[in-house]
């Protein structure tokens, strides 16, 4: 256990030394701020919480941005060590391959959590100080939901990135696969599903099946969780029209995200054992 922490600590230290953490935090905070300022402008005086507007904007940003930075952070975890020649050195120490995988994941997870909390936190604080809403009037619960689900979404793509870094032979290939993975989950999946549903083929897919096909994509599960998860955000994002049976309990969505973390991590550990060094 202590060796997992040693590895995680090194990962975090490396993250702030090469300015990765500070850069990503700034980028995320800036994007978040711009989006929320733009997003809150047209609301005018309504009884919708301004934070709900922000959360809807931010969750749209998260779906594109967080998987990307998570994959960037993790795609070369193992293959990078292999290329630098430090993997054999690492393995010559009394540390198991599972601990290496978990240590790397833990370190990257901490980095990503920090980036998300500070980045989004800064944006929301700036908004509340600049705006006319007092902090204590904000609906913090929907913001916290955004935070922890974003972190989970990041975790999913970290785990997928680590899996990639174990399956590939060199960093270049890993990077290419990472981009492919991002496109697949974030862009192509939804487009393909939308295409099928709007075509005549849709009659073969029941509503229920379509829902679960969509939710098998972690990015969509995340979207559903944040947009349909509370009445305020649902109204804003056009999710309020959902029938009761079309909704999915938040618990199920969170478990889905967690499964998307656990399964790739387990696969990573197994494949790492089999990988020829």
């Amino acid at each position: 256990m202590s060796r997992i922490l040693v590895l995680a600590k090194k990962e975090v230290r490396d993250g702030y030394r090469n300015r990765w953490i500070i850069l990503m935090t700034l980028v995320l905070a800036t994007l978040a701020l711009v989006l929320s300022l733009l997003g809150s402008a047209p609301v005018g005086t309504t009884n919708i919480s301004p934070l709900a507007v922000t959360v809807v904007s931010l969750s749209s940003l998260s779906i594109f941005f967080i998987p990307l930075i998570a994959l960037l952070l993790s795609y070369d975890s193992i293959v990078g060590e292999e290329e630098r020649g430090t993997l054999t050195l690492l393995l010559s120490h009394p540390i198991s391959k599972t601990s290496i995988t978990l240590g790397k994941f833990l370190g990257q997870f901490l980095i990503l959590s920090f980036v998300i909390v500070v980045g989004y936190g800064a944006a929301v604080l700036a908004l509340s100080f600049g705006g006319d809403i007092a902090i204590d009037q904000l609906q913090w619960s929907i913001f916290f939901k955004l935070l922890y689900s974003s972190i989970l979404l990041g975790g999913v793509f970290l785990a997928l990135g680590i899996l990639l870094s174990i399956c590939t032979k060199d960093r270049g290939t890993a990077a290419a696969y990472a981009i492919g993975l991002w496109l697949l989950f974030v862009v192509l999946f939804d487009m393909a599903l939308l295409g099928v549903l709007s075509s005549t083929g849709s009659s073969f897919i029941s509503d229920e099946a379509a829902k679960w096909i969509m939710l098998s994509n972690p990015a969509d599960a995340y979207r559903m969780f944040n947009l349909a998860g509370s009445s305020d955000t649902a109204v804003l994002s056009g999710m309020s029209g959902l029938r009761d049976d079309q909704g999915v309990p938040n618990g199920a969505l969170l478990s889905l995200l967690c499964a998307w973390i656990v399964v790739p991590l387990m696969a990573s550990c197994i494949l790492f054992q089999r990988k020829s060094i």
Binding site: L7, K10, R84, G85, T86, T88, L91
Partner: protein
């Protein structure tokens, strides 16, 4: 041979194949406590595979590998890994960490007590650069940092993959000095190299690997003798003296006049002393004597290109 219980590392008829490629074939090799062996071979001769077997990173296809009397791939071997110091062949440490932080990281992985590791850094002449980032280090400095890393926690077995590559002669000498000190402390040392001439007298045994086979094993002088390389005695003297020496030494085909006043006599290493005695009769007439042993490179080439001897009969 020493008793089995004193063997730090023991290979018995070990083979390793990758698909159809035989990386190692029938290797029998051992390393006693406090002794050192150099593994010499071309790139691709199987040195790295052998080292991976020692570290338990891969399993042998056949044969038996024991390190500290345990199978290196077994779970029971894990705690014993603290007793191994390993320097990979090419090792690019994280550029963003300082030299000291790198050492602390690996020390923690070995489960050592926290510290500043000034002594470790001092030993490889990195004290002044200890708190600079590894990214700013030269190739030689990175290599020395790697050596310092391998020495952490006073390991009982040092496995150094090409420890002197990229080092200048002074740094190289320093590495051999450290290896000597480690041996005195009781550590066993296995180093690999593809340049035989870089080896030093502090290495007890040389094992020559060629295409996965152990073609020769022994001390450097024994290897020289087995390959029947000639020693060469080169002397400078006035012409008259040279003619007399030629007669006295006998067999003229061994004598060649290189240029005026310089004679070269090639002879079997074991006859060297007898010939020198004959030459010394002319003592005062001789201006200079130089003795050239067959260079390690020649010995190595002889072993690599032919099938002289076997590993068994040393």
């Amino acid at each position: 041979m020493k008793m089995d219980s004193q063997m730090v590392m023991d290979f018995a008829q070990v083979s390793k194949t990758y698909g159809k490629v035989k990386a190692l074939e029938d290797i029998t090799l051992n390393l006693a406590k406090g002794s050192s062996v150099a593994l010499v071979g071309h790139n691709g001769a199987g040195k790295s595979t052998l080292i991976k077997l020692i570290l338990g990173l891969i399993k042998p296809s056949s044969g038996r590998v024991r390190v500290f009397r345990q199978e290196p791939t077994s779970g029971a071997f894990n705690p014993l890994r603290c007793k191994i110091g390993y320097l990979p062949e090419q090792c690019l440490f994280q550029k963003s960490l300082t030299g000291r932080e790198t050492l602390i990281f690996y020390a923690q992985l070995k489960g050592l007590k926290a510290g500043k590791f000034n002594d470790s850094l001092e030993r490889v002449d990195l004290a002044a650069a200890a708190d600079r980032k590894v990214g700013t280090y030269s190739k030689g400095m990175r290599q020395r940092l790697g050596v310092a890393q391998a020495l952490l926690g006073a390991p009982e077995l040092l496995v150094l993959d090409e420890p002197t590559s990229g080092l200048d002669p002074i740094a190289r000498q320093n590495i051999y000095k450290i290896i000597g000190e480690e041996k005195e402390r009781g550590a066993s040392v296995l180093i690999s190299s593809h340049v035989l001439t870089e080896l030093d007298d502090r290495i007890d045994q040389v094992a020559i690997l060629n295409k996965g086979k152990l073609t020769a094993m022994g001390t450097i002088p024994i290897l020289r003798r087995k390959v029947k390389m000639k020693s060469e005695i080169i002397l400078s003297a006035p012409k008259l003296v040279i003619e007399q020496i030629e007669k006295s030494v006998g067999t003229p085909r061994d004598c060649t006049r290189k240029r005026d006043g310089v004679l070269s006599i090639s002879c079997d290493p074991e006859n060297k002393i007898a010939i020198l005695e004959k030459i010394m009769v002319f003592g005062a007439g001789i201006e200079n004597i130089e003795i050239q042993e067959p260079s390690l490179e020649l010995v190595y080439n002889a072993y690599s290109n032919s099938n002289i001897g076997g590993a068994q009969d040393v």
